[in-house]
């Protein structure tokens, strides 16, 4: 989808959809996929928000892009911390570690 050809209002709607996570009018993505949608928001609309010359909707787009960026960084920090702790301590947690795992590696504790 080429952003060049869209009118500004539709750009804003799109950015808002990706920010709130109800793309295609369906709010099924849920909280878990929001980080990916926010990343898409940041990468796709970065030029629109900060590089292009000013137009009416640009301020709102800028807000959405900034909030998406912050949210994304927060998620990355939380997930990285949890993944590091889990991978390090899963073997020591024994039963709890096994119940939290989806696939358990074979042959190693």
């Amino acid at each position: 989808m080429n952003l060049e050809r869209l009118p500004n209002e539709e750009k804003l709607t799109l950015c808002r959809k990706y920010y709130f996570g109800n793309v295609y009018n369906v709010c099924v993505w849920g909280f878990a996929f929001l980080p990916f949608l926010w990343l898409v928001n940041v990468v796709w609309f970065f030029k629109e928000a900060f590089v292009k010359p000013t137009y009416t909707e640009q301020l709102q787009i800028k807000t959405y892009v900034k909030c998406s960026g912050l949210g994304f960084l927060l998620w990355v920090a939380v997930l990285t911390t949890w993944i590091t702790i889990f991978q390090h301590f899963r073997a020591e947690w024994g039963e709890v570690g096994d119940y939290l795992s989806f696939t358990i590696p074979l042959g190693i504790p």
Partner: protein, 698 residues
């Protein structure tokens, strides 16, 4: 049209060529087929055995010549990791421990069994110390072998954990190929460095289970995905049981006014490499004696019923913390067996019996060891002593302060103080120099045959070992007859048959695929279609969910059935459903279709149906039924599963050459990307001048 036909012909020829020529993999790797791996076993607290990494462990082959030569793979050698090839004389605990401690430089160990060392026992010094009757609470002085160390030569190698694979190769062509490869490429010349390429070996034996039984059973039962991965299996098998006078097999629990004497022996044994276990003195001598005694007794008791019944019980899985006997005691206590502990009058167990002193005209001394319940035991011993009249040996009681050796009888004592004795050929510690090891084979039991005999003649030849075991069997049969209240005048007519004993010893220890076993065996269960002539595997194996036992269990079942049962005239279809006939009952008996002999003038076997009281009783540790995987009471041994196990050798290049090849490849990739990029940006310049002449021609 012509162009099309040529192209199709070319494609066709290329296809044939690719099919016929060898693949590159076959030119690189030499697969080793006759390998026996060391696998991982787990119990409630530990994991033992060997583990390889998931993509195999590769190491440069080094043939170890002496213990001092170990410096080369462990410290001096310039091309770690090494795959150490040992001969059996060097397969000792000290060498294995040194390699275990330096496991970053050792990729694996390969053992080539050759001559037997003077003594070697990889088992622990105190077998089954935690599951016998001598626990800390019973008597502190007798627990943990404080009084007598039963297996002083034991080095505990089977119970160590190694994080590299250990394989065993048979001494044959493959070992020659490996040694040739080693001498061609890996020999150190004048102490100087080795030239690449070097001969290397790769071993795959990745085990799925870790830590202990509770962990692996928990992981096996979690099924998030559609196909749950089984990680480990409990060890177990079947006990073979036969009553002289059978009971209704569906009526469990206490039987009023019934008193049973149990004659027990152990079926299984193990070795460091589980599938190579032989157990000649450890288990075969015991159960062959009991089989012969069963045959002798059944011939004598055809006429009159005895006052007491006799149960011949062959327990499986005894090496792994008494799996079979603990299961039987558990079943008896919980009314899941045809009799219960109140019905048991006494127990006679045959342990390790080998010829104590070699031939000639001396008296043999076989010891027996006493337990509690003085009067009944005194009676039993009296019966035993009097049964050796006319035989060339005698029974000697051991000192009262001696505890019982490791035996199934201890599990019965743990539940209740039943009188009984254990017969064995050792007075204090084991005489067996190769207890639970690969060297406890026919040669160790002095089964020597004159060299000019064919296999059939060897089967019939009565060795001295067979003669002495026959005498023990006769004595045991007479004792059991008297214990069961038999008439004293009939006793001396009971004699075990030396021909049966020697045929059994031959079949179990030298060659299973012999004519006698084939006659007595089953055509349905193809365990007797043994393609290799080797003896069956004595390791208890994994408890299968289908009603399949291993070859040893079937052999003992069919032998006992033929020795103690009666042949009938039933046809094969009647043999499968005998209940329709008026005189037959599957509650009391089991009916087995036996292959039979080939008569001299025909090629078809004369099969027949045997009616017998022999039954297979499941022998899986009660811990798995109870779900108590950390049990201190019952055996919790499991064996890990794996995907595949293989070994192969190939020539390996130096690391520098590998890196160079990789670097050149990456450079070629980037160069080609660069060239493509430039060509595509300058495409109109490069190709436009070529296009115009074409236009001009048209």
């Amino acid at each position: 049209m012509l162009i099309n036909r040529d192209v199709s012909k070319f494609v066709y020829i290329l296809f044939i060529y690719l099919l016929l020529c060898n693949s590159v993999a076959q030119k690189i790797y030499v697969e080793l087929n006759n390998t026996v791996p060391c696998v991982r076993l787990l119990n409630a607290t530990h994991q033992i055995g060997c583990q390889s990494s998931i993509s195999g462990d590769t190491g440069v082959i080094h043939v170890l010549e002496s213990e001092a030569d170990l410096e080369w793979p462990l410290s001096k050698g310039p091309n770690p990791p090494y795959m150490v090839l040992l001969e059996s004389s060097l397969f000792t605990k000290s060498i294995m421990m040194k390699m275990k401690n330096a496991s970053s430089r050792v990729a694996g160990v390969v053992v080539v069994p050759k001559t037997s060392p003077p003594e070697f026992s990889p088992h622990t010094t105190c077998p089954n110390e935690n599951t016998g009757v001598y626990t800390e609470t019973y008597d502190h002085n007798l627990a943990h072998c404080n009084t007598t160390v039963w297996n002083p030569r034991g080095n505990g190698l089977s119970y160590e954990e190694f994080d590299f694979p250990v394989f065993s190769l048979k001494e044959d062509n493959e070992t020659e190929v490996i040694k040739q490869c080693y001498f061609d490429h890996n020999r150190v010349v004048n102490g100087s460095g080795l030239q690449y390429p070097l001969c290397a070996m790769q071993l795959f034996s990745h085990m799925h289970a870790v830590t202990d039984t509770a962990t692996c059973m928990r992981r096996s039962s979690m099924d998030f995905s559609t196909s749950p991965v089984m990680v480990c299996d409990p060890l177990g098998g079947y006990n073979v049981c036969a009553f002289i006078r059978p009971y209704n097999s569906t009526a469990f629990g206490h039987k009023e006014n019934e008193s049973v004497v149990i004659a027990a022996a152990r079926l299984d044994s193990k070795a460091f490499f589980l599938e190579d276990s032989t157990g000649a003195e450890g288990s075969v001598s015991g159960f062959v004696t009991l089989l012969a005694a069963a045959q002798a007794l059944c011939e004598a008791t055809q006429e009159a019923p005895r006052t007491r019944n006799i149960l011949f019980a062959f327990f499986h899985g005894e090496v792994f913390d008494y799996i079979g006997s603990s299961r039987m005691v558990y079943d008896m206590k919980n009314n899941m067996f045809v009799i219960d502990l109140d019905n048991v009058h006494s127990i006679l167990e045959i342990g390790q019996v080998k010829t104590c002193i070699s031939i000639n005209v001396w008296t043999y001394k076989c010891m027996d060891i006493r337990s509690n319940n003085n009067e009944s035991v005194t009676n039993l011993v009296k019966n035993l002593q009097s049964s050796t009249a006319g035989l060339n040996f005698s029974f000697v009681e051991t000192d009262f302060s001696q505890p019982l050796p490791p035996s199934s009888f201890q599990r019965f004592l743990r539940a209740r103080a039943i009188p009984g004795i254990v017969l064995a050929d050792h007075q204090t510690d084991f005489n067996n120099r190769y207890y639970e090891s690969f060297y406890d084979n026919a040669a160790h039991l002095n089964l020597t045959y004159p060299s000019n005999l064919s296999p059939e003649e060897q089967l019939e030849f009565v060795t001295d070992t067979a003669k002495s075991l026959t005498e023990v069997a006769t004595a045991v049969a007479r004792t059991l007859f008297k214990q069961a209240g038999g008439n004293n005048s009939q006793v001396n007519k009971i004699n075990a048959d030396p021909k049966t004993v020697t045929q059994m010893l031959y079949g179990f220890l030298v060659r299973s695929n012999n004519s006698w076993f084939q006659v007595l065996g089953s055509s349905l269960r193809c365990v007797f279609c043994l393609s290799e002539p080797n003896p069956p595997q004595y390791y208890v194996g994994v408890a299968k969910s289908s009603h399949q036992a291993n070859a040893l269990t079937y052999l003992v079942q069919y032998l006992l059935a033929n020795l103690t049962g009666t042949a009938t005239n039933l046809t094969q279809s009647q043999c499968k459903k005998p209940d329709e006939l008026p005189n037959e009952s599957t509650y009391l008996y089991s009916y087995l279709w036996v292959q039979g002999m080939v008569p001299p003038n025909s090629t078809q076997r004369e099969s027949f149906c045997v009616r017998t009281a022999v039954r297979l009783v499941k022998a899986v540790s009660p811990a798995f039924d109870l779900g108590d995987y950390v049990s201190k009471e019952y055996s919790t041994w499991t064996k890990s599963q794996w995907k595949f196990i293989k070994a192969r050798i190939f020539l390996v290049a130096s690391r520098d050459l590998e890196m160079l090849t990789l670097g050149v490849g990456v450079a070629v990739l980037f160069t080609s990307l660069l060239v493509t990029y430039f060509v595509s940006t300058k495409a109109d310049v490069l190709f436009s001048s070529v296009r115009e002449p074409n236009n001009a021609a048209y």
